[in-house]
């Protein structure tokens, strides 16, 4: 009987963001905020105290006019796998408020468990983790748009992108009542991927060869998930964080900006 209930192949949800298509319009940021009940304050111009699970960075090539160039880089949580699930943040959390799920590859954050020591934020080189420095306050009436699938966070805890895990949950619910366990690719999409007006964000199961993310990112699982697509790179791959967000760019300077290199280093595709 036990054999009958075989565990399905573990999924590894990930994202590919095409920086050639990304226009920097910011729709992903707002799609995320409104899906995930992210609070806002009167002044959000201090970006060190402004919660944005998805943040779009503006990269410049540092050259003078007219050779100057810019590129936008959306940065969700990378849902690092590290080595065997040891994401930089997961192993440091003293209270097990964040964990790496081997079944979906998603790094969770449990707000009621977190007590706000912020060690995970220090551990994350992507600044993908945000602290609730303030009590979340919605102007009167505005709490009506809050999404019941995501619980609003209280002051004093850390939050971050969850790859809209609640959407996975609701999609699974639908599958369950239909007697399925398997989700179709389009049944579980993050809010940002769904909203992106430039279709620059692709989301899916990196382990599933039928999924677009797998086909674009072509992750080489023998080499820590490194992509075999020559235009693809991951942020700070050399640190060994093994992130699940891949970026595409046809521009060399953008790909090089994705990691740290010594002057003599080439923008390598190999880890070691």
């Amino acid at each position: 009987m036990k054999k009958e209930v075989k565990n399905e192949k573990a999924k590894k949800y990930g994202m590919v963001i095409d920086l050639d298509k990304c226009t920097g319009c910011g729709a992903c940021m707002v799609a995320c905020m409104s899906e995930n009940n992210v609070p806002f304050k009167e002044d959000e111009s201090n970006k060190l105290d402004s919660i944005a699970w998805m943040r779009v960075y503006k990269l410049t090539n540092g050259k003078p006019f007219p050779e100057a160039d810019i590129c936008y880089l959306p940065r969700p949580c990378m849902h690092c796998e590290g080595h065997n699930g040891h994401a930089p943040c997961v192993s440091v959390c003293p209270a097990t408020a964040t964990d790496y799920n081997h079944e979906t590859g998603i790094v969770s954050q449990i707000y009621t468990r977190c007590f706000g020591c912020r060690y995970c934020m220090v551990a994350c080189p992507y600044h993908a983790r945000y602290f609730n420095w303030w009590d979340p306050v919605w102007p009167e009436g505005m709490e009506k748009y809050l999404n019941p699938d995501v619980s609003p966070r209280m002051r004093g805890v850390v939050e971050k992108c969850s790859f809209c895990f609640h959407r996975y949950q609701t999609a699974m619910n639908k599958a369950y009542v239909e007697g399925r366990r398997k989700l179709e690719e389009d049944e579980y999409q993050t809010s940002c991927a769904q909203a992106c007006p430039a279709d620059a964000i692709t989301f899916g199961d990196l382990n599933d060869p039928a999924h677009a993310v797998h086909q674009i990112a072509k992750p080489d699982l023998k080499h820590g998930g490194r992509s075999s697509n020559p235009n693809a790179f991951r942020l700070l791959e050399r640190l060994g964080t093994n992130p699940k967000v891949y970026y595409l760019s046809s521009r060399e300077w953008v790909r090089r900006a994705g990691d740290n290199y010594l002057k003599k280093d080439k923008t390598v595709k190999k880890l070691h």
């Binding site: 009987m1 565990n7 081997h102 009621t112 468990r113 619980s151 895990f165 609640h166 609701t170 639908k174």
Partner: protein, 241 residues
């Protein structure tokens, strides 16, 4: 009283007297803890309408699912909305004062009934009825008890500290439970999951010697053969949001 104590103290210097005071203290605190405290901890609230499950189950065609059903999107409807009730209760049926109240106060004014939900979980909890009922083939009774067989609404006891129902945090003030539905805390979920998990997790608690396996209480419910029980330790998001 204090004079009495002092006087008695003078009368007897023996250890026995000290023990008497020990017992007095013990008794007082036990009464306070077991008797007074639960009364103080919970406020008693009445449901807006006294609901008769027995009557309804007889009247409807599809049993419990007539009102508590799964929606197409996989979500569970929970308590029915007024719109569903109106199907039958557009007009007052019978002479039950509760029925009259229901139709006059709520149906007529198109106001939803502010039911007090015994099983209401905190916001941080994600619970999939679909996973448990549709895939796990669990009976409602396992968690909700025999509420479907009640002909009156129980008193809703609200915990003054947490604001949640007594059903969630333990009907028995001692924290012990006789039935699976006596408590709906995380430990209770975990208990059932640990007990029913299928052997893909090496760290199975059942294989452990006593007393480490003590949490496995001997109740009988079997989970369907197709069940796949979440019992890994890396999956906070499965039950929390």
């Amino acid at each position: 009283m204090s004079r009495l104590i002092e006087e008695k103290g003078k009368e007897s210097e023996s250890g026995g007297f000290i023990i008497l005071f020990f017992i007095l203290g013990l008794a007082a605190s036990l009464v306070l803890g077991w008797g007074v405290f639960p009364k103080l901890l919970y406020s008693q609230k009445k449901q807006p309408i006294d609901f008769n499950h027995v009557l309804h189950v007889e009247a409807v065609e599809e049993g419990c699912e007539s009102c508590h059903f799964f929606r197409e999107d996989g979500s569970f409807s929970g308590l029915p909305k007024l719109a569903q009730c109106v199907d039958c209760h557009e007009e007052i049926q019978g002479e039950d004062p509760n029925e009259v109240k229901f139709v006059e106060e709520f149906v007529a004014n198109e106001r939803e009934v502010p039911w007090l939900v015994y099983a209401e979980q905190p916001d941080c909890v994600f619970f999939s009825h679909a996973a448990h009922v549709k895939m796990g083939k669990m009976e409602c009774v396992l968690c909700h008890g025999h509420i479907g067989e009640s002909s009156h609404s129980r008193v809703y006891e609200e915990n003054r500290v947490t604001g949640y129902s007594r059903d969630i945090w333990g009907k028995n003030i001692s924290g012990l439970k006789k039935n699976t539905w006596d408590r709906m805390k995380m430990d209770d979920c975990a208990e059932c999951h640990a007990k029913n998990k299928i052997g893909y997790d090496k760290t199975s608690m059942e294989t452990l010697p006593w007393p480490l396996n003590w949490a496995l209480l001997p109740y009988e419910k079997q989970i369907g053969p197709k069940a796949r029980v979440q019992a890994k330790k890396d999956a906070c998001f499965v039950c929390h949001k």
